[in-house]
């Protein structure tokens, strides 16, 4: 079952031709309308005319999260604000958010690619799609929502949280497809078991993403919820969920290549790597109008294969990311950069800049503990003073990270100092 058979099964030569044509157009647009891109190209003596086909892709400069920060909030937009119809944001590496914009047509593309993923999981207009991703600045909720609506399914914007209500809606509305983070799926499974509702719910498939998960987790979700679990991948900079997704053969995620051209590069040198080799995943948005990022470095480590899939699709498949080229953590679906934590601590007099993050998963929910060294001169014999300090740090962290964290005050100089790259993270979840 295909959502867009012509594109999804297009012979590769034809697909490459289409990608090339769209790439030429995208490069012309950004050169003309986005000053930072024009400057980047001029700096290396590149003109739009130099890009004639997809074989020229490697000549183009990369885009990184830092470029988004430097041009915050709208400096990389290729269209005037009058054409923007939606704005989302996700975590940046420091205080500033990563802002992404969409035109009406971009939202249609988003709906289209998410629809392809839902169709790959067997979804049709007869389904009831239960979206438990958070709705808001985060792209998870609305991306899944647009996908559900595009296929004509009854789409329920349940959003995250209120677990009892989630189960009740599943039971009473008859949800058939669940879309959320895999850890939340396990949490819901547990809640359904506790409420004795597993046999009353009609779910048959789940499409999970926004955080790394493992094959054992997939099996557990499938067994406990009696569903087939599919992986979906995306990042807001490219569009959101739907950049790629699994078909029923579950042998890698089909990249929606007519919109996003994938590459794997050597993170250190920036060189393109051949199919099958692991490296950093890079995407070029060739159809988006508002913010068509060129060669955006995702920092996800993956591999690509162009072999035909048994499902009949000809699109490239990416492997489930096997790690990160940077120190970003994904906690409860929220991207967290240690640099954000450092910047918060820098602003708090009573704390030193040394910290340790301990990430764990308890009852299928991610937990984040931030160990903070108190500066000795601020130590007080009164519990109240130290508790207030803890609360102050917790509040600042929550407002910067968009995620609540447990703050643990530790003794000064108790966190290891290292001369090289400091070790700031203990991740007990072992997700990769």
């Amino acid at each position: 079952m295909y959502w867009n058979k012509e594109i999804e099964t297009m012979p590769r030569e034809k697909l490459r031709e289409l990608q090339g044509k769209r790439l030429v157009d995208a490069v012309e647009r950004v050169y003309k309308n986005v000053a930072p891109y024009r400057k980047k190209m001029q700096d290396i003596g590149l003109e739009p005319g130099d890009i004639r086909s997809i074989d020229d892709l490697y000549k183009l400069p990369f885009t990184t999260k830092d470029d988004l920060r430097d041009n915050y909030p709208f400096g990389l937009n290729a269209v005037p604000m009058s054409e923007i119809t939606e704005i989302h944001a996700s975590s940046g590496t420091t205080g500033k958010q990563t802002v992404v914009t969409y035109t009406d047509n971009d939202l249609k593309i988003w709906g289209e690619v998410a629809a392809r993923s839902i169709t790959m999981a067997g979804g049709t207009n007869k389904d009831i799609v239960h979206v438990s991703y958070g709705y808001g600045l985060f792209t998870g909720g609305l991306g899944a929502h647009y996908g559900g609506q595009t296929i004509g399914a009854a789409t329920i914007p349940v959003s995250a949280g209120n677990t009892k209500r989630q189960i009740q809606i599943m039971r009473d509305f008859g949800s058939t497809i669940l879309m959320c983070t895999p850890s939340y799926a396990l949490y819901l499974a547990e809640a359904a078991e506790e409420l004795g509702a597993v046999n009353d719910i009609k779910l048959r498939a789940g499409i999970f993403g926004a955080e790394p998960w493992t094959e054992p987790m997939r099996r557990e979700i499938e067994q406990r919820l009696h569903i087939s679990a599919y992986d979906i991948y995306g990042l807001s900079e490219i569009i959101g969920p739907g950049v790629s997704g699994e078909c029923n053969f579950k042998c890698g995620l089909h990249v929606q290549e007519d919109h996003f051209i994938p590459e794997i590069i050597n993170s250190a040198t920036g060189e393109q790597l051949p199919a099958g080799q692991a490296g950093e995943l890079v995407f070029t948005c060739v159809t988006k109008e508002a913010m068509p990022l060129i060669r955006y470095r995702t920092r996800d480590i993956s591999t690509l294969t162009y072999d035909a899939c048994e499902c009949g699709r000809t699109t490239a498949r990416m492997s489930k990311p096997s790690g990160r080229a940077d120190d970003m953590l994904i906690i409860r679906g929220v991207n967290v950069f240690p640099s954000q934590i450092e910047s918060v601590l820098m602003g708090i007099n009573e704390a030193s800049a040394y910290y340790m993050l301990v990430v764990d998963r308890k009852n299928n929910l991610d937990t984040l503990e931030i160990q903070v060294e108190m500066r000795p001169e601020f130590f007080s014999d009164e519990v109240r003073v130290l508790e207030n300090l803890k609360r102050k740090i917790a509040k600042e962290m929550e407002s910067t990270l968009g995620l609540s964290a447990a703050i643990k005050l530790v003794e000064p100089k108790s966190i290891g100092r290292s001369e090289g790259k400091a070790v700031h993270i203990i991740d007990n979840r072992h997700l990769y």
């Binding site: 108190m374 000795p376 130590f379 007080s380 014999d381 009164e382 519990v383 109240r384 130290l386 508790e387 643990k408 005050l409 530790v410 003794e411 000064p412 100089k413 108790s414």
Partner: protein, 143 residues
Amino acid sequence: MFINQVSVFIENRSGRLSSITKVLGDNGIDIRALSLADTTNFGILRLIVNDPKKAEKVLKDNGFTVSTTKVIAVQVEDTPGGLYKTLDCLQGANIGVEYAYAFITRKKDGAFVILRVENNEIAVEHLKDCGVNILSEDEVYSI
């Protein structure tokens, strides 16, 4: 009139309390009284010792986070209602008590209470007016 109390930050990690007492013992410091305030993830150990200056130094040298605070030591009758007289006096003057802890000793009659209040000077004045026996530094350190 005021007693120097040594406070030590204790991370919630096993062995921290025992290593503090080891450092004090190795340096010949006698603990007169102690109180441990504990929360879910840290504690504050408050100590009255025979030599607060030295205690602060040796603990700091051993990497502990230490602060010295002025507190008030009073002697109360070791009978029912003994402490009430003191607290009622402070209450009457509207002086809040941050925390308090008591101890007794073989050498002296009565019970002793360490009081941490908002304003030491005002508290002492009122306690004196109420006829509460306030202990001097020497008295406490040599108990």
